[in-house]
Amino acid sequence: MATAAAQRTAGSEADGAPDPVDTTAYQHAFDAAVAADERIEPRDWMPDAYRATLVRQIAQHAHSEIIGMQPEANWITRAPSLRRKAILMAKVQDEAGHGLYLYSAAETLGTGRDELLDKLHSGRQKYSSIFNYPTLTWADVGAIGWLVDGAAITNQVPLCRCSYGPYARAMVRICKEESFHQRQGYELLLALSKGTPEQHAMAQDAVNRWWWPSLMMFGPPDDESQHSAQSMTWKIKRHSNDELRQRFVDICVPQAESLGLTLPDPELRWNEERGHHDFGPIDWTEFWEVLKGNGPCNEQRINQRRRAHDEGAWVREAAAAYAAKHTGSAGGTGHETGATRA
């Protein structure tokens, strides 16, 4: 069992620095476990850099889920049918849930959610840049489902085998639940593409705007990716950025054809020799600019997140104060009876 609680006790032990001889032995055991494709669990010894890399990556992933609610939530109140509205609401809810699973995984490494949220709110930790693009029309909801979630799934499926147990388990759950996200997006776009000329144009416009940013989601090219090599050795990462990007492009080309939509890349074509599609150059200047905070919605997204957090402070305080007054109710017994209702 790998609980966040388990890490708490382990954290205090880690503080009493083990002697150098022990560290070498631990390092050896860790390397062997990773090499043998075993999972590292919260209470196992792990190199500080491994822990830091995981916290950074899981936190960024969690933040992306939470910030990622915003562009789609932007359309909940305007969804054009009740069926679509229910689907979109369920999807945005899943994103909140996935954020929570991931914060939960990060907490097993000894970093609390409040600390992580604080780092998000103060800009010290990032979220996926894709969410700094605006959702301008209803078709954007479809394009996000198809392309953004599609890219995310391509990225995430290998993470289900990540060397860190709690992260891998969170990803298994997330991938399972997300299977509907991409399909609903595709179905939404298909309805538009086959709909009125205005709807078709709306769908094409959305794909035009989301295609390139989706390709950027896989991160910088392999030769410029600063964390990749070490993460591959640690089996946090299993495939390189370029490898996953290529896989995604190859998947999307026939899907776009079935949709009756085009992908906005004149250089996109099948390369018989490589057995893959060639595609045009990505504008990495745009990528780095958005990452630096100059994207269309960076400020808007983080401001909304901060505002929700700040405006909710009195609510969280009230609940904590209530719990303190009624301590008998915290951690009591007999919860199973109560839980059976759920």
Binding site: Y101, R113, R316, A321, Y322, H335, E336, T340
Partner: protein, 95 residues
């Protein structure tokens, strides 16, 4: 813990009758009642459970990594605890 930081709870879900509760993850809640409800909303929204336990994370005592060997190794060399340890002639049933 600041006034707005809610404590951490570990969540265990019985996915259906006949199975034991298994660890599903954790969440934050100010008290047990809300922890239970948050767990219901978060971990069983696709009908994954029939019963939930929530446990304050601080109430869990775990074996430490240093104790790994003395804790678990003695159990590893008692194969006679496992049914496959015993050879039974072929054709003998209900064993």
């Amino acid at each position: 813990m600041s006034t707005t930081d809610w404590p951490l709870w570990e969540v265990f879900v019985r996915s259906r009758r006949g199975l034991s509760h298994t660890h599903a993850g954790s969440l934050h809640a100010p008290d047990a009642e809300l922890a239970l409800r948050n767990a219901r909303d978060l971990y069983t929204r696709r009908g994954e459970g029939v019963s939930i336990w929530v446990v304050p994370a601080t109430a869990i005592t775990a074996s430490s990594p240093d104790e790994k060997d003395p804790f678990f190794e003695p159990a590893a060399d008692k194969p006679y605890r496992h049914p496959t340890f015993y050879e039974i002639p072929e054709g003998v049933k209900h064993l």
